[in-house]
Subunit: 201 residues, 2 copies
């Protein structure tokens, strides 16, 4: 936590810098404390070294900060997975790289990952997010279908097998983040999931 005396007031016209600091502090708190409810408005203010009411210049409420952090986390996550398949032609390879990127993001930012798929209320209220997730799922289905089309997968239903793949990746990510366990190599588990469920020949 910064000492409040160390912070310099932003210059005129640069007030929106505080907005970025708020989001960074909230993200840091989320990742470090590991629970959304400990990302309090006052903790964010403390972290930045600012008085609590200063935040209201940039966000309406505590909730809107958390919502913004989650939206950003989803964008980061989706971008990381998409980016992993850049310049990769072979669909099986794309599928594997996506899986690796998925699990790596969850390993590196477990709390940010968890909050994406783990918040019942938020998900129910956010239409935008629902559609992002749907788009991400459709991308997975397309990838599995491409493996089928190229003769590398004997899956009889890309969509239904994608549900199983998604579940397995999500479960693995969550369990690895939450449970002490003598986990086998993550790439091995990933291969078992993809080979088995996606029926890669």
């Amino acid at each position: 936590m910064k000492d409040s005396s160390s912070r310099q007031r932003n210059k005129r016209g640069e007030g929106s810098k505080l907005r970025e600091e708020i989001l960074q502090a909230a993200t840091k708190l989320l990742e470090e404390t590991g629970s959304e409810e400990s990302v309090t408005l006052r903790a964010i203010a403390r972290e930045i070294g600012v008085a609590a009411p200063s935040i209201y210049g940039h966000f309406d409420s505590r909730e809107s900060i958390v919502d913004t952090v989650i939206d950003q986390a989803f964008e980061d996550f989706f971008a990381a997975v998409l980016q992993s398949t850049q310049n990769v032609g072979d669909p099986v390879e794309r599928l594997r790289k996506s899986g690796v990127a998925y699990l790596e993001f969850a390993d590196e930012f477990p709390q940010r990952y968890a909050i994406l798929f783990d918040r019942r209320e938020h998900i129910e209220h956010s239409r935008t997010e629902f559609h992002s997730r749907e788009a991400a799922f459709n991308a997975l289905v397309a990838l599995v279908q491409a493996c089928i089309d190229s003769g590398q997968s004997s899956s009889d239903d890309a969509s239904k097998d994608s549900v199983a793949i998604w579940a397995a990746l999500h479960g693995l990510a969550m369990l690895r983040a939450n449970m002490k366990f003598d986990w086998p190599d993550i790439n091995d588990t990933l291969d078992r999931i993809l080979n088995g469920v996606a029926h890669i020949n």
Copy 2:
């Protein structure tokens, strides 16, 4: 919530009945509100129709109530899964029945299920629980091994494939509880997971 005037004080020697009421109320609150932190000591007291300090006759702290609820949930869960394979000889059938029971418990008591595998701090502190989970996992490995031994599975590693199976079941349970989605039939997804990852012939 009961009206506090409706509650009759327990007779002498029956004071421990309140203990049961506390646990029931905490479980109900957990399941209904869907988050552990809203299971407050005062909410429990309100639910029962009792003054908040009355709880201290039966539990040291709010935390010990929640811990007890979780321990109980784990026992219920494990018992439900075990019981599903009673009188079933064929290992593949046992594996399937276990999977169905696993997902049914998660569907019926999503919050109680989620709290079992989803609480980083609690899990880190509870040795007993860790061992219960380990026992449950070992039972799964033994089941997969039995499928291999009976020639019904071509898995090359019961333990590693069990990790993948566990991950897939957990992920499916969590996603179904948390996400609005046009989920395919749960038995179909379960079959895809077991057939694919456990290499059932």
